[in-house]
Structures are given as structure tokens and as C-alpha cells.
């Protein structure tokens, strides 16, 4: 029987929500890694039982967890009991948590500085993994976006991680600056039509594209306008919050920026604003309908100072025209006294028909719509603050 799995990362652990294809009755499993911040979990598109998780702590650092049974059990790759034999054979042990910037002369880039909040230069310091993006065709390959901003890749199921230093080492690096949450590489988009093409987004640097499998990178921020930086149309420095594509049309990208909702129809070479009639064009997540490449979703919040919805009403906005014209989706969502936020990785769609869409809030609610957003129901109301939501279809 086809089933649906939602992977939820929260401030105090991970939760796995499951249902059948009707998506009406849900069971909730968790917390996994109780008490730890789980920034992101994501499953392999080619093996849904392979799930990677970023477990992190300001006290005890970064942990990578992996499940090979759809989240029922977890281990640190290379550090579990099954790895002892491999260790005896010389395989690395206990290195799955090791994210070291590559400064080697062969493949690396020198460790430089980036702009700090006060405008001074600050050393690059690893803090945590924000986002894990499993390969589209190899379950042992996974990308990790980290703070301070860099891209890492594992090709051995998460046992070891190696930086793709061309991004961090880009000549514009000293102009990058942290957003309020840190200088994070939070979005990784793999182009399904062009296996050499990767998009990344960094707060606050902007969007970058590689056309050689992550070796070299170019900023693609032409058309972005950010009033909060000295040069509003600078090549880098924009606080991009999230980008998304539809797999059938990967040359079109949608972006929720610090302010403004944007789209590009040339692979990111140029962008135009499509905020249209949104009540606020500030927000964090943006998602694309699974079967309609021009149907997109955002969750407006008031401003960078007021991280809650306008008028105390939690509204998802949907555009069926790829932006510019938006409609509020409110049925089943609280329309008074609601002051939660929805973070950048906390909204996802499923692949059923009609398309399901899901989001989690900083107040611990996970809402689901099984009719493309027309109506909503809470799956669970009282989790810890939700950091990320991903979906999986499993059979």
C-alpha cells in the first residue's frame, strides 16, 4: 500500500508522521534524538528508507545521523556497532561529524574571512549543518549546506564529508555576511535535467550556480534589489531565504527573499519580482505544486522585525500563474490571534494527486492540505518549534 511519510525536524528532536494515500489519519513517531536540535531530515529519492538527519547542539557540536529503515532506527555512519568491522579494515570511524573546510593546495581554498554584523571581517567558523540534500540518483551521495556558508558532499553514505571549496573560496566571500540566524548555506537544489548543475542559496550572500558538479560557482543575483545593503543591486550580499524549482521545468526558479518574491526563467541569470498583491512580501519558505509548475506557495509574515503573519491570520498564499497574482488560503487555518512563523525549510509538497502541501510552525503545529491548499487540518499541534518539513512517498 502506498503511504506517506513526513519528516519533521524541531528544536527538541525529530518526529515522523505517517499516513496512507488518503492523508487523513496520521500516526506520530518521536521524538527521535530527544532534546537535540534537528535542523533537517531528508530521504533519498531513489531509496526512501535511506534518510539523513542533521542533529546539532551549541554545546556538543554537529552530529550526522542516518537511517536505512525509513527512520525506525538511526546510527551515526561509521560510528555504529556495524562499523567496527569496517574500522578494523581501515575505514574511518567517528568522522561523520567532521566538517573541515578544505584548505589543501590540491582541491581546497584558503580560509579567508567574511563580513561580520558590525562590518568588520570575521574568520570562517563551522557551526552546524542547516540542510541535507541527498543525490537524485545515488543514495550514498548527499550534499550538506553548512554555517559558516560552505557546501560539503559525502559519497560514502555520510561516513566522511568533503568540502566543495570553490563556493566558499569564491572571490566575493569577504563580502558575504550573516543573517540573523548565522551565515548559513540553507538551500541546495539539484537540477534533475542537468546533473552537473547545482543551485545554492546563502544568507546573506545570495544565490549561486555551479555547472560543473560543484567545482566552480558564480553568483546569480541579477535583478535582486535589497534596500538593506549599501548597494541594493550588488552582485552578492542579498538575503535569499529559499529557492525552489519544479522538476519538469528546472530553468524556472522561484525565490522568497528577505523582502520580495522573485522568479527567474533563465536558470537564475536574471530575476524579476512577482510579489504582486501579497499582503507582505517578506517570508521564508516557497514551494512549487507537484503537478503544476506555475502553482507556487508562500507564507507571508509582516516584516524582518515582526516575524508573524499580518493581522494575526495564518494564511498560505497560492499563485496559479507563477507569481504576481495571489490568493489567500485560509480554510482550516487560524484566522485570529496567530503569531507563529514558518521557517525556510518547513514547507513541502507530496507527489499524490491532488497534491498535498504541508508546513510546520514555530509554535509546533504541522498543518496538512490534501487538496492543493484549498483546505487545511493540523496533523499535530504541540510539537517543539518546527525547523524543517520534508515529505516522502513510500510503498
Amino acid at each position: 500500500m502506498t503511504a506517506m511519510r513526513i519528516l519533521v525536524g524541531t528544536r527538541k528532536g525529530a518526529f515522523i508522521l505517517t499516513s496512507d494515500s488518503k492523508r487523513k489519519k496520521w500516526s506520530i513517531d518521536g521524538p527521535h534524538f530527544a532534546g537535540w536540535e534537528i535542523y533537517h531530515l531528508k530521504g533519498s529519492p531513489v531509496n526512501p528508507d535511506r534518510v539523513y538527519a542533521s542533529q546539532t547542539s551549541s554545546w556538543f557540536g554537529q552530529i550526522i545521523q542516518r537511517s536505512d529503515d525509513g527512520g525506525k532506527s538511526w546510527s551515526q555512519p561509521g560510528a555504529d556497532s556495524a562499523a567496527e568491522e569496517a574500522a578494523a579494515a581501515g575505514m574511518p570511524q567517528g568522522e561523520s561529524n567532521m566538517f573541515v573546510y578544505d584548505t589543501s593546495t590540491e582541491t581546497g581554498k584558503p580560509l579567508t574571512t567574511h563580513q561580520w554584523y558590525d562590518g568588520t571581517q570575521h574568520p570562517w567558523e563551522f557551526a552546524r549543518v542547516w540542510h541535507l540534500e541527498p543525490s537524485l540518483d545515488d543514495p550514498d551521495t548527499c550534499y550538506a549546506g553548512v554555517e559558516d556558508a560552505a557546501l560539503f558532499r559525502s559519497t560514502d553514505g555520510g561516513v566522511t564529508w568533503h568540502e566543495l571549496a570553490g563556493l566558499r573560496g569564491h572571490e566575493s566571500g569577504p563580502e558575504w555576511a550573516p543573517g540573523a540566524g548565522g551565515m548559513c548555506l540553507h538551500t541546495i537544489v539539484l537540477d534533475p535535467a542537468n546533473k552537473s548543475r547545482i543551485f545554492c542559496a546563502i544568507s546573506a550572500a545570495g544565490t549561486f550556480r555551479s555547472d560543473d558538479n560543484g567545482e566552480t560557482w558564480a553568483p546569480i543575483n541579477n535583478g535582486l534589489h535589497s534596500e538593506y545593503i549599501p548597494n541594493p543591486t550588488a552582485e552578492v550580499g542579498h538575503c535569499v531565504h529559499r529557492i525552489a524549482i519544479h522538476p519538469s521545468n528546472p530553468n524556472t526558479l522561484f525565490m522568497q527573499k528577505h523582502w520580495d518574491v522573485m522568479r527567474s526563467d533563465d536558470g537564475g541569470d536574471s530575476w524579476r519580482e512577482v510579489s504582486g498583491n501579497l499582503p507582505s512580501d517578506f517570508g521564508f519558505p516557497i514551494a512549487v505544486h507537484a503537478h503544476e509548475p506555475e502553482t507556487i506557495y508562500v507564507v507571508p509574515i509582516l516584516s524582518d522585525s515582526l516575524h508573524y503573519p499580518p493581522d494575526g491570520k495564518l494564511r498560505v498564499y497560492r499563485s496559479r500563474s507563477g507569481g504576481d497574482e495571489w490568493e489567500a488560503l485560509t480554510k482550516g487555518l487560524p484566522q485570529e490571534n496567530c503569531y507563529v512563523n514558518v521557517l525556510r525549510d518547513a514547507m513541502a509538497v507530496d507527489t499524490f494527486d491532488p497534491c498535498g502541501i504541508y508546513f510546520g510552525t514555530t509554535g509546533g503545529q504541522v498543518y496538512a492540505s490534501s487538496d492543493s491548499g484549498d483546505s487545511w487540518e493540523p496533523i499535530v499541534r504541540d510539537l517543539p518549534g518546527v525547523l524543517s518539513v520534508e515529505t516522502q512517498t513510500v510503498s
Binding site: 556538543f60 552530529i63 551515526q76 570511524q93 567517528g94 561529524n97 567532521m98 573541515v100
Partner: protein
């Protein structure tokens, strides 16, 4: 046998009890105890000390024989009560609350 007490989050990470036992050959120092701990529980590598620099994480503290040894040299010998197993070496997460 050296007794080591772990904070809650590291107990769950290593799937172990609050107190674990490790063996140290030679001088019983912070470094030797942590090396032995990480060898026994490789999933703890990087959690108490940073992977490459091997420096103590800023929000981790060490206590031995009732003394705060957080800022002692990692190569200083720990009190004799640790070496004999009469008292545990304690790894403590800095308190944060409110």
C-alpha cells in the same frame, strides 16, 4: 579503571549509562581520559573536543575530585582519586536556563 560521568545528551548519543568506565595506560590526564572515551565510543568524537584542534568545546566543563579542572592543561595529571576509580571524571554541559 577510570569512571567517566557524561551529560544527558551524550548518554543518549552513545546509548550508554550516565557513568561509563574506560582504561588508561600511563598517566591519567584529561587528554588520556578523553582519548580513551572516544576510542570506546567513537560516536562521541567531536562532541567534547573539536575534531581537528582537539580543543574543549566552549560550553563543556570538566570536574575531577570535586575540583573544576576545565581550564587545567589537558596534559596535567588528574587527582589520584580519578586514577584509582574512587571518584569519577565528570563531563558537564554548561548550564543554560531561564
Amino acid at each position: 579503571m577510570i569512571r567517566v560521568v557524561l551529560p544527558h545528551h551524550l548518554q543518549t548519543l552513545a546509548s550508554c549509562d550516565r557513568e561509563v568506565a574506560v582504561t588508561v595506560d600511563g598517566a591519567v590526564t584529561q587528554r588520556a581520559v578523553l582519548d580513551a572515551l572516544e576510542a570506546r565510543y567513537p560516536m562521541l568524537r567531536g562532541t567534547v573536543r573539536e575534531h581537528v584542534t582537539m580543543k574543549r568545546r566552549p560550553r563543556v566543563r570538566f570536574f575531577a575530585g570535586g575540583e573544576d579542572v576545565t581550564h587545567e592543561s589537558p596534559d596535567s595529571e588528574l587527582p589520584g582519586s580519578i586514577a584509582t576509580g574512587d571518584q569519577p571524571f565528570m563531563i558537564v554541559g554548561a548550564i543554560a536556563g531561564g
